[in-house]
């Protein structure tokens, strides 16, 4: 009744090819944007913004990156954590070399470094497929992690072996990073970049390039017979995916953590991102947000919510329970809907479409 597209006619292909052709979707996305841009900044506490919203957005971005590669191009990767690391270290190097440059520009530039590295490690995908490829991406993960420790130039020879975020300003003296950057500034910076990159990714995946990725994913042989060059398609997917992951990594350090040891980009981060992508739904940008929300926000809610509602248990028990619940929920969701949360959402929408008279 509320979600019905009857009566909304399209008279041109332009109109038909919009991202949100249905009026209700437009209203929905508008509402989400208003919540993100106005409601959260006005009502959210610092804790909510810094520990829930900022990481959620950054993880969403990284998940979009992985989704490009795994969801759209069908190449399973366990190395996204390391590619995020490349972005973070690149951004750190850039900001020490060009301390006066606008941080946003540097963050966007740093993605190109991880794109380049991503392409190098994407080369084996031309011969290796499926789970075998997944294991070879572990080579990238562990090798890069080793480099983050073993190449002191990357962290400016800091005795601590970590990268520390200096204070950087931009847009007329607003402090964008470092301890003095306000949570709201960091939030808007992250939100802005996430929105920008999401729009760009949506454009890529609905056009020729995105289609060529999906062709390779769904049936690589047929794709090749239609004229897709596997080399170009796979490497471009690795490049775009690593770019997005790289930007997410740079944001993770500059807008969220504030400093990072190599361990921050460990295999666990890669798994975290992979969970988000799969649970949200492979091959869906909306799903990336849903997956990130599920994997990041749910444990935080359990961790801080259980004591808040009066269930008083030891901190580590909360941690154990969280793990068990998240693990069980992952299995549960895979059983209920292997195509992820986004598929559940679609089913819900289809139900709404005919509600309340499903048989008319």
């Amino acid at each position: 009744m509320f979600y019905r597209e009857a009566g909304q006619f399209k008279t041109s292909y332009e109109a038909d090819q919009q991202v949100f052709p249905i009026l209700q979707d437009k209203i929905g996305i508008g509402a989400i944007l208003i919540i993100g841009l106005v409601v959260v900044p006005l009502t959210g506490s610092d804790f909510m913004i810094t520990s829930i919203m900022i990481p959620f957005l950054i993880f969403s971005l990284a998940t979009i990156g992985l989704n490009i590669l795994t969801g759209y191009a069908g190449q399973l990767s366990l190395g996204s954590g390391a590619f995020m690391g490349v972005g973070a270290y690149a951004c750190y190097k850039l900001t020490t070399i060009f301390p006066d440059a606008n941080l946003v520009v540097l963050v966007l530039l740093s993605g190109f470094f991880s794109a380049a590295i991503g392409m190098v490690f994407g080369l084996p995908s031309l011969r290796i497929k499926g789970l075998y490829l997944a294991v070879t991406t572990l080579a990238a993960q562990f090798f890069l992690e080793w480099c983050f420790i073993r190449v002191p130039w990357l962290y400016n020879y800091n005795a601590s072996g970590a990268i520390e975020v200096p204070e950087r300003t931009g847009f007329g003296g607003i402090i964008l990073s470092g301890p003095a950057a306000s949570p709201l500034t960091r939030y808007f910076l992250v939100l802005g970049l996430v929105i920008l990159i999401t729009i760009i990714m949506k454009n890529i995946v609905r056009g020729r390039v995105g289609r060529s990725w999906m062709m390779i994913r769904d049936m690589d042989i047929a794709a090749e017979l239609i004229g897709v060059r596997p080399l170009v398609a796979k490497l471009s997917a690795f490049a775009v995916s690593s770019y997005v992951c790289g930007v997410a990594g740079a944001l993770m350090v500059f807008s969220w953590l504030g400093a990072a040891e190599p361990a921050a980009f460990s295999i666990n981060l890669s798994f975290q991102i992979l969970f988000m992508a799969i649970l949200g739904g492979l091959g869906s940008l909306v799903g990336s947000f849903m997956g990130a929300a599920f994997i990041w926000i749910l444990p935080v809610l359990i961790r801080f919510g259980m004591p808040a509602v009066g269930i008083d248990i030891a901190a580590e028990t909360v941690e154990h329970t969280t793990r068990m619940i998240v693990g069980a929920l992952i299995i549960f969701f895979l059983i209920v809907e292997p195509h992820g949360l986004v598929r559940l959402w679609q089913i819900a929408k289809e139900k709404l479409r005919v509600w309340p008279f499903p048989y008319v």
């Binding site: 562990f142 969970f275 799969i278 068990m324 693990g327 895979l334």
Partner: protein, 325 residues
């Protein structure tokens, strides 16, 4: 020039000058390799029978060992704890079959892989919840495993003609022997028993196996149990070498390159692959590692597997894949 020398000549000079040390390195590599191979073996068992890439094998190793030690610490005698731990692995196998495998039958590979990663999360939480997070000392002595070492001192094998020193830990020797026994036992199990034949039938073709009256559910429970027992043995051996803690989980990832070398379905492949990786990474780390600051062991195994795959995408024992349209 010096650089080339240090890469292409010096390591070999070192090997020749200290043969006892080289042998020791090889031995350590073999022992490490066998432990990787044991983990890989658990993967292979499950993959063969159900096509599931069981990511949780590593954590099952920790979980099994923790159960054993945890029970012992709670006052159960060592051997009884061992039997109980086997029982727990059986229970785990039944639960996994019932609550994970059965509802997910016929799903794509990646979904099943993800489910086992979910299982990993769950088991980590459960293990720490029940037994706590402290590393535990493996009850190797109580189980009757040997301790101490056998020391060989071959004349003139040390540096400059001095007597050499090769020290073999008895526990490592035991691990090698037990691994060998287990492989033979598995081979007999697969080839000679009714269940073994059913397993092979399932591995070949699920549909066909079903049509001759083999219960898939039963078979899956059995392979998960077999993998659980392999995990328990692995856990005991590895636990005796270091300690039982969740940090082992990451070491277990090394079984993945082993699988790549050996192929996902080959038991001999897992063993040979394990040995290649184990020896390869030790030799690499000891003789070439210092050139780049050491610590290359963390990725060398994956590097070896990657290079290998580029030239032989089907693995050591896999058949050449002919693509069809």
């Amino acid at each position: 020039m010096d650089f080339l020398y240090s890469i292409f000549v010096d390591p070999f000079v070192q090997m020749v000058q200290m043969p006892d040390f080289l042998l020791q390195v090889l031995w350590e590599g073999i022992v490490g390799g066998i432990l990787y191979a044991l983990i890989a073996l658990g993967f292979v068992l499950i993959f063969k029978a159900s096509g599931v890439f069981n990511f949780a094998q590593g954590i099952m190793v920790v979980f099994a060992a923790l159960t054993l030690v945890g029970l012992y610490e709670k006052g159960v005698p060592a051997l009884a704890a061992l039997v109980l731990a086997v029982g727990v692995m059986a229970l785990l196998a039944i639960c996994v079959e019932r609550f994970v495998m059965r509802p997910l039958v016929n799903q794509p590979d990646i979904i099943l892989l993800m489910a086992t990663i979910g299982l990993t999360y769950f088991l980590v939480g459960l293990g720490e919840f029940i037994f706590g997070g402290e590393p535990k000392v493996m009850i190797a002595n109580e189980l009757g495993l040997p301790s101490g070492s056998v020391v060989l001192e071959p004349e003139g094998w040390g540096p400059g003609g001095s007597p050499g020193l090769i020290s073999l830990q008895k526990i490592d020797i035991a691990a090698t022997v037990i691994a060998a026994i287990m492989i033979v036992a598995l081979a007999i199990f697969f080839n000679k028993t009714r269940i073994g034949r059913a397993l092979r039938a399932v591995a070949d073709d699920h549909q066909a196996a079903l049509s001759v009256g083999i219960s898939l559910n039963q078979i899956w429970a059995i392979v998960w149990f077999a993998a659980g027992v392999v995990a328990l043995v692995t856990g005991i051996m590895w636990g005796a070498r270091s300690d039982v803690s969740f940090a082992l989980e990451i070491v277990a990832l090394k079984a993945l390159p082993v699988l790549i070398l050996g192929g996902f379905t080959s038991i001999p492949g897992a063993i040979v692959g394990g040995l290649i990786i184990g020896v390869g990474e030790k030799i690499g780390e000891i003789y070439w590692g210092p050139l780049v600051g050491g610590g290359i062991e963390s990725w060398l195994a994956y590097g070896i597997a990657l290079v290998f795959l580029i030239f032989r995408p089907q693995g050591l024992f896999g058949e050449k894949i002919i693509e069809r349209v």
